[in-house]
């Protein structure tokens, strides 16, 4: 029993299209870890039969919406959950086709690990490149390349080595740190949960073992202290008459009581008096904890302000360089204004310039065609009405990311990573 309470959480993303075995792989992970329930399986079995399929279509487990089930495609991001005694896993399962880039970006935005599937018969193809580029742009800390359908290439090591080599050549152009390769057959189960007897030449771990053991402890930034204030807590009761706490989720670093802090944008300085949680006060708190901070001095602080350590501050910027992923069907209009959201702060913003459009199959920078529509990724310069306190996305995913909201429709139209 104790074991269950001591697990870590790992979020991973997969992307893929109809027949590359993604659904089979997820189905196998869920099934072999006993995370599929019998009534779910029954329902899927019945639906498969009604559609005249001979085998149970595990894709029906992940495709939840009526349209997806009818068309047999994944449209939106589907979240799936499974657990082993070591870790709890959240899968962001996304479609792989280029017209769903925005969904892949969404799924990648919170992932610790990207699972990239390669069909051993086809090798590195355009879709592999696209998924890897997205993983690199979104700075997913770990990539696991599963070379799938090994059973269809007679489990040959040469095939695996060749694909691995091709991928490494391509990935050298990308900003990826930790890449591992695993030869698998999702259909037959080789090296997914159980070690394969068919590939004795492979000395690495199975996929599940890798997912269970990959080191995610340093995925959060624990160096640069950033605390965006969400809301101010003032109980105004007799018991807590003078209590004034700043509630938020630590976006980076480790805060300790007694730390010298600066509040942005006012620049006022103070010391941390206490770091409070429901159970009492803690001596230190780190990302991604939700806490309430009280200060020694009475300073005017409100939502959107950021508490940082005085000796380590983010950059204050009104001109922001970003890699933008355009999410909305309506592209950016000339001179149009947006609300930019960054941590808990917002401001008005304007896209001043599109520098180039990125071809996400080849990394080619197109400086001629800068016409942006849904699913395009581009580098842009954004001007905001007031300074934001930013880090580069590379340094901190929380303080380095923004979204743009259309002022007319209120829709989230773009997501950006600060360079």
């Amino acid at each position: 029993m104790e074991g269950y309470l001591d697990m870590e959480l790992l979020r991973f993303t997969t992307a893929g299209s109809v027949d590359d075995g993604k659904s089979t792989l997820i189905g196998r992970l869920l099934y072999d870890s006993k995370s599929i329930f019998e009534d779910q399986l029954d329902q899927v079995r019945q639906t498969s039969e009604r559609r005249g399929a001979t085998e149970v279509d595990l894709a029906l487990l992940t495709d939840g919406l009526k349209d997806e089930r009818e068309q047999g495609i994944t449209i939106d991001v589907a979240y799936r959950y499974f657990a082993t005694p070591k870790r709890k896993f959240i899968i962001a399962d996304t479609p792989g086709h280029i017209q769903y880039t925005r969904n892949m970006v969404t799924g990648a935005s919170t992932a610790n690990v990207a699972l990239i599937l390669i069909d051993a018969r086809k090798g590195v193809i355009e879709q592999t490149c696209r998924h890897s580029i997205i993983a690199s742009l979104l700075q997913i800390p770990h990539i696991i390349v599963c070379i799938n359908k090994m059973d269809l290439v007679d489990y040959q090591q040469e095939k695996f080595d060749q694909i691995k080599n091709d991928f490494e050549n391509f990935a050298s152009k990308l900003d990826v740190k930790d890449v591992q390769f695993i030869p698998i057959s999702a259909l037959k189960g080789d090296n997914v949960v159980n070690r394969s007897d068919n590939m004795n030449w492979y000395e690495g771990s199975t996929l599940l073992y890798t997912l269970e053991n990959i080191h995610i402890g340093s995925d959060h930034n624990h160096i640069d202290c950033r605390f965006p204030v969400q809301t101010v807590i003032r109980p105004q009761t007799d018991e807590h008459h003078d209590y004034r706490g700043y509630a938020g989720r630590i976006a980076g670093g480790v805060f300790k009581s007694g730390d010298e802090i600066t509040v942005l944008p006012s620049g006022f300085t103070s010391k941390i008096k206490s770091i409070d949680i429901f159970e009492g006060s803690v001596i230190e708190a780190f990302a991604p904890m939700s806490v309430t901070i009280t200060l020694e001095d009475d300073i005017d602080i409100s939502r959107g302000d950021m508490i940082v350590r005085t000796n380590n501050q983010p950059e204050s910027k009104q001109d922001i360089e970003v890699m933008l992923c355009w999410l909305n069907n309506k592209g950016p209009q000339p001179r149009s204004k947006y609300t930019i959201r960054h941590t808990t702060a917002d401001a008005k913003a304007m896209i001043k310039e599109i520098r180039y459009k990125l071809d996400i199959n080849s990394l080619h920078r197109n400086e001629i065609d800068k016409n942006i529509s849904a699913n395009d990724i581009c580098r842009a310069q954004i001007r905001t009405t007031r300074p934001l306190f930013v880090d580069s996305y590379r340094k901190n995913r929380n303080t380095g990311s923004i979204i743009l909201v259309d002022e007319g429709t209120n829709e989230t139209v773009a997501a950006g990573m600060i360079i």
Binding site: M1, Y4, L5, D6, M7, E8, L9, F37, E38, D39, Q40, L61, T62, D63, G64, L65, K66, I75, D76, A78, Y79, R80, Y81, A83, K88, N103, V105, T106, S109, T110, G217, H220, Q230, I233, R234, P235, T237, E239, A247, G248, R249, D276, I277, F278, P288, M289, S290, T292, L327, T339, R341, H342, T343, T344, N398, S401, I403, V405, T412, A415
Partner: protein
């Protein structure tokens, strides 16, 4: 180097607290949709932690079908008085009496579907711009596609194909007049997480979740509790069984599971070994393959 890792429950808790605080900050008039089930109890517990030492800044809204387990109502009233929270009750009976909703007829009649009318009327009457619910993505396939901040148009409807993208931890609660949001802080929790958390935090839950003796009939492949609200046919036999409920909905649609689990530890063990989903015993989900998606589009929980 020190190990700055959170356990999965602490990380989920931190995420949910963050969401609840975003709701308080981004909306004018948010409310918690409180059913008396374990998930809405968990949400309420998290809200208490999020704003401590202040009170929960949301009223609890209960959509009362009138077909309740008496235990749930007692639990609700105790919790509300303990929290010092405001309770708002939307009555399905009143919607029927006012001619806003029509009662289903027949043996399997339930008030599940017509709750939506009362829910949307209550939201409009009080002008709620965000309703916090305990729904989880692992519960049901349509819910797996749900956002944390889920937009509803002026008719209270969900458009699953046109949802706002949610990236990182940045949530967009901006809305036009008359629209509202449903917010799901437990999106990333599983049934197991909820039970582990209830155990770890020692959260009080209605006695119905623990194994107890009860009069039931066998109908639609489940043990349905005998109450004033169901018609029992001559062929149906009333049996007294030891069982517990894995979810709590209306007494007319919530089937029990035979069980000896009378402590939280035993429940966690039972959930770990379970081979059926918790909603497997919910008649409301069985009406069609896309029953949940269809109801959600109309504005259901």
């Amino acid at each position: 180097m020190k190990n700055y890792n959170l356990t999965h429950l602490k990380e989920l808790e931190a995420e949910s607290i963050y969401i609840l605080r975003e709701v308080a900050a981004q909306f004018q008039k948010p409310a918690i949709l409180f059913s008396g089930g374990k998930d809405s109890i968990c949400v309420t517990h998290l809200a208490r932690k999020a704003f401590h030492p202040a009170k929960i800044p949301f009223p609890l809204v209960h959509i009362d079908t009138g077909h309740n387990f008496p235990e749930t109502m007692e639990f609700r009233d105790n919790l509300v008085s303990e929290l010092g929270a405001k309770l708002i009750v939307g009555s399905v009976q009143k919607s029927i009496d006012d001619g806003r909703a029509a009662e289903e007829k027949g043996k399997n009649a339930s008030r599940n579907a017509i709750q939506t009318v009362t829910l949307l009327d209550t939201i409009e009457e009080h002008g709620f711009d965000a309703c916090i619910g305990g729904a989880r993505r692992d519960e049901e396939k349509a819910r797996a596609k749900e956002r944390f901040f889920s937009h509803r148009d002026e008719f209270g409807q969900w458009d699953p194909k046109n949802q706002r993208p949610e990236l990182w931890n940045i949530f967009n609660g901006k809305q036009n007049f008359g629209e509202h949001f449903r917010v799901f802080p437990l999106s990333n929790w599983t049934e197991m997480d909820v039970w582990q958390y209830i155990m770890a935090e020692n959260i009080e839950i209605p006695s119905l979740y623990f194994a107890h003796q009860r009069d039931v009939i066998w109908r639609n492949n489940t043990w349905l509790p005998v109450s004033d609200f169901i018609q029992i046919e001559e062929t149906e036999e009333i049996i007294n069984k030891k069982l517990r409920f894995r979810t709590l909905g209306d007494i007319t649609i919530t089937g029990g599971d035979e069980s000896d689990a009378d402590t939280l530890a035993k429940i966690v063990e039972e959930v770990a070994a379970a081979r059926n989903t918790e909603r497997g015993n919910r008649a409301d989900d069985k009406r069609s393959e896309t029953a949940m998606e269809d109801r959600k589009k109309e504005g259901y929980f």
